[in-house]
């Protein structure tokens, strides 16, 4: 594989993969917050 193809692949798949992974994690974290909401009783802990 030549350097040009390698560089472009890394930019597209690398950057795209990172942002997709983080986006997926943000969705899952939002879901977790809805499934396990914060309760006021935890405030004192």
């Amino acid at each position: 594989m030549d350097n040009w193809t390698f560089g472009i692949t890394m930019i597209i798949v690398g950057m795209g993969g990172t942002i997709l992974t983080m986006w997926l994690l943000s969705l899952l974290m939002g879901l977790l917050r809805k499934l396990f909401p914060y309760k006021k009783e935890e405030a004192g802990k």
Partner: protein, 379 residues
């Protein structure tokens, strides 16, 4: 008799006669690192052992980096095996409160945007003629994360380890100088004044405990080659948030992290032998590392501007600059810049969220990169 005395005396001056021209320069470089650590308080925990290791390895004939030399033994035990950066990650996980990030999960995206410098610098290094794996090691300086840079470069471009790690730690400590001009250049005064309100403490303990598990499993499935990186951070964080292993948590963030930092620093310094370090390639690595961190900041702020538009002006684009891994320096820079233009603005906790997102983002970007390399059959 005279021969014996002559040989004996030669033994005492052999160190001087074997001095390579690069050794005194590197002893000076080691001295400079010690000066920065001791007098300027710049990353002293790392720069002091790195500087001293650099001095040690540039004294000729001591053989510290030859087989059975004590620095070589430490290097082989912890750097060549990649154990030291991973131990550091357990400590980082144990020290980090991901609460501000979990308060506002969309900030995760800023942690991704803050890593784009990695990939752009990788492409730039390729264009300048570096090999593929060398370019990967150089690009990862943009993770702004010392242990990640060490992990990747020691594994795939060990000959660049010293340059990459010195660049990573030096630029990380220079974040308060590098970032503000870029932040000001890319944002309007009105944008810098945006008040994001206060962060409420509204994340349940269950969510905080499940967070490291979800990141480990989902991240591991997407980018298995990077599992050691984020798996160890998440182990440390799970210990912290579970609250049931406080002895292990304290040991991870104190004793283990301290011992490993010392050994890591001295063995990185030991790779700075003048004969290998003083090359045009090292200078190029240092320049590219600087560009990587500037590009991270540019991409983070620009993504912050995009989020500002999407959210109808609720996000201050400055917090995008905190989407890098330099924690908590980048968050403090954002707070300081924000308050300059709106003294009533408290961006710190929002920036801390982006900054912890940057910590996850940096290891995730490296993990994604390694898995893509594996997929392409390059590693």
């Amino acid at each position: 008799m005279l021969d014996a005395i002559g040989n004996g005396l030669y033994g005492l001056i052999a160190g001087f006669t074997n001095l390579h021209w690069s050794n005194p320069i590197m002893i000076g470089v080691g001295g400079l690192l010690l000066y920065l650590a001791i007098k300027k308080d710049i990353e002293p925990l790392l720069l002091l052992p790195i500087g001293f290791g650099c001095i040690l390895v540039n004294v000729p004939l001591a053989g510290l980096m030859e087989e059975e030399g004590f620095l070589k033994t430490i290097y082989d035990a912890g750097i060549a095996t990649e154990l030291f950066p991973l131990f550091i990650f357990i400590g980082i996980g144990a020290m980090t409160d991901f609460g501000p990030l979990l308060e506002n999960p969309r900030i995760f995206l800023l942690g991704a945007a803050g890593q784009f410098g990695i990939f752009l610098t990788l492409a730039l290094a390729l264009a300048l003629g570096f090999s593929k794996l060398d370019a990967v090691a150089i690009g990862v300086i943009g993770a702004c994360d010392g242990p990640t840079a060490i992990y990747v470069s020691s594994k795939y471009a060990p000959h660049l380890l010293s340059a990459v790690s010195v660049a990573a730690y030096s630029y990380m400590s220079l974040v308060p100088i590098i970032q503000p001009p870029i932040m000001r250049f890319l944002t309007t005064e009105e944008e810098r004044k945006i008040n994001m309100g206060t962060v409420k403490r509204s994340v349940s303990k269950t969510t905080k405990i499940l967070f490291p598990l979800v990141v480990t499993v989902i991240g591991g499935l997407i980018a298995p080659k990077g599992l050691p990186l984020f798996g160890t951070i998440m182990l440390g964080n799970l210990m912290r948030e579970s609250g049931v292993v406080s002895r292990l948590t304290k040991a991870s963030e104190n004793e283990i992290a301290n011992i490993v930092t010392l050994l890591l620093g001295i063995s990185i310094g030991a790779t700075m032998d003048g004969r290998n370090f003083l090359t045009p390639q090292t200078l190029m690595v240092l320049c590219l590392g600087f560009i990587a961190i500037c590009l991270d900041t540019v991409c983070g702020v620009m993504f912050g501007k995009l989020l500002k538009v999407i959210t109808g002006g609720k996000i201050n684009p400055l917090i995008g600059a905190a989407g890098i891994s330099a924690y908590p320096m980048a968050a403090r820079v954002v707070q300081r810049e924000g308050q300059k233009y709106n003294p009533k603005n408290f961006l710190l906790m929002h920036a801390m969220g982006a900054n912890t997102g940057g910590q996850v983002g940096s290891v995730m970007a490296a993990a994604v990169m390694l898995s893509v390399l594996k997929g392409m059959g390059i590693i």
